[in-house]
Amino acid sequence: MSTNQPQDIVKLALDSHDNIAISFSGAEDVVLIDIACNLAEDVRVFSLDTGRLHPETYQYIEKVRDYYGIEIELLSPNSQDLNQFVKQKGLYSFYADGHQECCAVRKIAPLRQHLADLDAWITGQRKDQSPTRSDVPQQQKDTAFSTTAHTVTKYNPLANWSAAQVWQYIRENDVPYNKLHDQGYNSIGCEPCTRAISPHQHERAGRWWWEESTKKECGLHMINVVET
């Protein structure tokens, strides 16, 4: 499986599930849409509209919708939960106490609700995006969103591709891309939590740069455990 090309994985995913959708972040994962639209006519795509995206990203989502002639389902946060969160914490609490709470309301909750009605989803996750993604497989049971009654399968067709390979595909196939990429934005998320980076910085440096990496680390470093 690890040597399969993204096209093979997308085809496998679409052939294996009727109830499947592509997650589109409004960035270079547009490659997945391009691949899927070359394989099938009825491609389902969704994006998480956190309400805090750049104007360029909203314009880009619209451009992708027009270019491929597809519907893109925009998932919004639950208004009651969001109102309560903003009322209590304000609009920029993530700078003080981390982005998790905001992401949980604006991203995880709507994503979780949406995946409860899907059997599988396709993401643009790549191993080279972050240390936390270094072991991303091309296909996996999604343990985060599967329940005892409902298994969700996650496909990561780009897992083994580098950023350079993704951009080579975009250029060779004239795939539309987000204008922010031309302004030094590598990884694109919400406006307050994304910044442009220099060419030699890792793309993670463009997201949540104010947070300590140790606070993101929940793993136990088992390499330190020795026999007694």
Partner: protein, 114 residues
Amino acid sequence: MHITFVKKILANGQPCQKCADVAKRLLDSGQMSQISETVIADERDPNSVGMQLAKQHNVSRAPFFIVYEDNKKDSAAKIYTVYFKFAKEILGRESSKSEQNKEILNDNPDLDFI
């Protein structure tokens, strides 16, 4: 029932933030009294009790809970690395959706790129 709560100390000596969060939830909900023992997995000390328990049970995340049905630890251990599942199945406490969503993100840090 015997429940062991394993908390982590990071390699830099700082307490694990998530472990502290879980401990606070246990305290605030009055459920800490149901925890039989709390031990430390100190990344600076591979022989610390928690690190040895992690190795014994093949656990790679912290915090985690080890649950035995009887106090003698004769039964098979159940391991929980997700607090809200532990709270629901063992303590009979259903976490709020908000708590669950935050924990999902904490346990799957790659999701924040979605």
